[in-house]
């Protein structure tokens, strides 16, 4: 038997107790599923740097358990206001009916809590193997999450807000979420992750888009700066369907946003875009895998990062074009702006192409603010600090333009502007 990391051991020790308290308790299928998850996790432990995908994101401090010491004072609360007509709220990983606004959902949209479904014996499984230990851990301890379904040809024209509020905890928040859009259904969702103190958030989300469906999937990761946020989203995109994901990452001590999309039909589209703004010793990892399995479809990715102080950004993006997937176009771009000599970015673009009639591109750049442009602005009377802010905003402007929903574009732009203002205040 291998020796587990301290944190992994606490999960193993806690499992039997959890089995009798977590949703679906007593259901034999769910118990079997949880046990199989725990077994995989017990063999694998938390991901470590010997696993290729985790080479640049080191969880050792986390898995030793030091980072989860809730007796130490944690970071201040983060929050983000968005005026929502429909909202589902989770507090410390559990659905809060009181805080949610789900009374007036339009016809064709259903929003339920996964804990309720587990209680009824429903099972939602993801592929688990030893390289996906976090999925296995999530399966063992899954507590709640959102289940969203939009019926055929229903276009929901107001955004659904999904809010996760977290507070200090030495147990993780293991969410299992699901979005299903039937044929030609349309939906916009905005996930907001916020919190205070030290905690570990481990949300797993599956998205299934039927033919002609369109999902705009936005995410603001603004966790407490003492938190660990390790998220996985997997989307299946059928013919003519469009998946449009945009993630803005500002918070967490260490975060990983893993996105796997499978483009499974002609004229289907996968768009993964995002921005990350990091400072202090924050670490932000964006890892994407886009699988093109059939001909005639497209994928696009643009990520932009701004890194100050000793922050580190990681971008790993893989486009995998299978042998039959001719006439596919896949574009990927990752740009990082380093505001300090100690900030760091690692970019690992990967194209794996087995078809011969495809159009693919990838680009990765990192750089500093343009000194000549700064001087030009200063020579017109603009202070150095303001000039820096204008150049950073300009750097982010084009990726924010990828957001098609105006209120959400404004909301994300404000979040970015607030971040910039804090950096400017501190520098003055």
């Amino acid at each position: 038997m291998n020796t587990l990391t301290a944190l992994a051991q606490t999960y193993v020790d806690r499992f039997e107790t959890a089995l009798v308290t977590l949703p679906g308790k007593g259901d034999r299928n769910i118990t079997t599923l949880r046990k199989s998850g725990l077994e995989i996790f017990r063999k694998a432990d938390f991901p470590h740097k010997k696993i290729e995908d985790w080479r640049f994101t080191n969880l050792s401090e986390f898995s030793k358990g030091i980072a989860n010491d809730t007796t130490a004072p944690g970071a201040e609360a983060t929050s983000a206001n968005f005026d929502a007509a429909m909202e589902i709220v989770f507090v410390d990983g559990s659905f809060s009916k009181v805080l949610s606004k789900l009374d007036n959902l339009p016809d064709g949209l259903s929003v339920t809590s996964f804990a309720d479904e587990l209680g009824k014996g429903a099972v939602l499984s993801l592929n688990e193997d030893e390289d996906r230990a976090l999925v296995a851990l999530n399966t063992a301890f899954m507590q709640d999450g959102f289940c969203i379904h939009v019926t055929e040809s229903t276009a929901v024209d107001i955004p659904l807000i999904i809010r996760f509020k977290n507070t200090a905890s030495n147990t993780g928040r293991h969410l299992r979420n699901r979005i299903i859009l039937s044929e030609n259904a349309k939906l916009t969702v905005l996930e907001i992750h916020e919190g205070s103190g030290r905690y570990f958030s481990n949300p797993m989300t599956t998205v299934a888009l039927s033919e002609g469906a369109e999902l705009n999937h936005y995410k603001l990761q603004k966790e407490s700066t003492d938190a660990y946020h390790l998220a996985l989203t997997e989307a299946e995109i059928l013919q003519n369907a469009k998946y449009n994901n945009f993630s803005l990452s500002i918070g967490a001590k260490l975060s990983r946003n893993e996105l796997n999309t499978s483009v499974l039909g002609a004229d289907a589209e996968s768009q993964l875009n995002g921005a990350y703004l990091m400072r202090g010793k924050q670490h932000c990892d964006t890892t994407t895998v886009t699988e093109h399995k059939v001909p005639n479809n497209t994928s696009k990715q643009i990520y932009k990062g701004v890194l100050d102080d000793r922050a580190k950004g990681v971008f790993q993006g893989k486009i995998h074009i299978h042998p039959d997937a001719q006439q596919v176009s896949g574009d990927q771009l990752s740009k990082a702006l380093l505001l300090s000599d100690f900030a760091e970015v690692v970019c690992k673009p990967e194209l794996e192409i087995y078809a011969d009639d495809v159009k693919c591109s990838h680009g990765a750049t990192s750089g500093e603010l343009d000194e000549v442009a700064l001087f030009y602005m200063e020579s017109r009377g603009i202070s150095k600090e303001q000039a820096r802010m204008m150049l950073i905003e300009a750097f982010l402007a084009d990726v924010l333009e990828e957001i098609t929903d105006e209120p959400i574009k404004d909301f994300f732009s404000e979040q970015a502007a607030d971040w910039l203002a804090e950096v400017a205040d501190r520098n003055e």
Partner: protein, 247 residues
């Protein structure tokens, strides 16, 4: 207005300015001519405070106080304007935003109320009309995709909006056809007044047909080697800089 005394400056450890003395009074336009590599652009950058242009000795007094102690934006706010030889492209920053930010930064410095969007628009329309500049330039990112002529016009527009006290024109004529040159010169001439001064840096006499200087100086190897009135420029045009270099 501006007094330069025994100014020495280095770039990358190499001495480029080797003891410049120059006094410019209110209302005067001085031209500095000279061969390539004489230090003309270095002088303009030293006056505007660019990083990497290090003053090793000497002084520059502007309106009675030490100019060199001020940051580039403070110099701009106190009325110094450098028209760049190669105006800088700033992708993602709209010209209108850039201009409004600059105008308001300078107003704020002077303790004046900042202009709101409408007031600024009115002001900028007035100036673009005077200078025959198309408004659509304002929507485009600063200098991005502008032709050489458009870039120089943009410099003139900035000058017109900021109404500086002391203008430094660094090879404003380079890359301009005669029509663009006239527009640029016209922009400068509009601002000429007993309260304003200018330093016009140029390699060729041509620009000085349109911006007629009160004094002409020849800069060679980091020093002013000859001074005179506008006839000196014509003389240089005829004889070239060869004699000067030998001097």
């Amino acid at each position: 207005m501006l007094e330069i005394k025994d100014l020495h400056a280095t770039v990358g450890g190499k001495e480029i300015l080797k003891g410049i003395n120059l006094t410019i009074n209110s209302g005067e336009v001085h031209a500095i001519m000279g061969p390539n590599g004489a230090g003309k652009s270095t002088l303009s950058y030293v006056l505007s405070g660019r990083d990497g242009y290090e003053v090793t000795s000497g002084s520059v007094t502007y309106q009675g106080s030490d100019l060199l102690a001020r940051s580039p934006d403070e110099r701009a706010c106190s009325g110094i304007f450098l028209a760049f030889q190669y105006p800088v492209e700033i992708p993602g920053v709209a010209s209108a935003t850039f201009l409004k930010t600059a105008v308001n930064a300078q107003r704020k410095f002077r303790g004046e109320d900042e202009l709101d969007a409408m007031q600024f628009l009115k002001l900028v329309r007035e100036k673009t009309k005077e200078l025959d500049i198309k408004d659509d330039m304002l929507k485009r990112a600063v200098n991005v995709g502008f032709s050489g002529g458009e870039k120089k016009r943009n410099e003139v527009l900035q000058m017109a909006l900021l109404e500086p006290k002391f203008m430094v024109l660094d090879e404003t004529d380079s890359g301009l056809d005669i029509d663009a040159l006239k527009i640029a010169a016209d922009g400068v001439n509009r601002l000429r007044s007993p309260e304003r001064s200018a330093l016009v840096i140029t390699h060729y006499q041509r620009l000085l047909d349109y911006i007629v200087p009160d004094f002409v100086h020849v800069l060679a190897d980091g020093k002013i080697v000859k001074s005179g009135d506008k006839s000196l420029a014509l003389e240089l045009e005829e004889k070239g800089y060869a004699d000067i270099d030998a001097a």
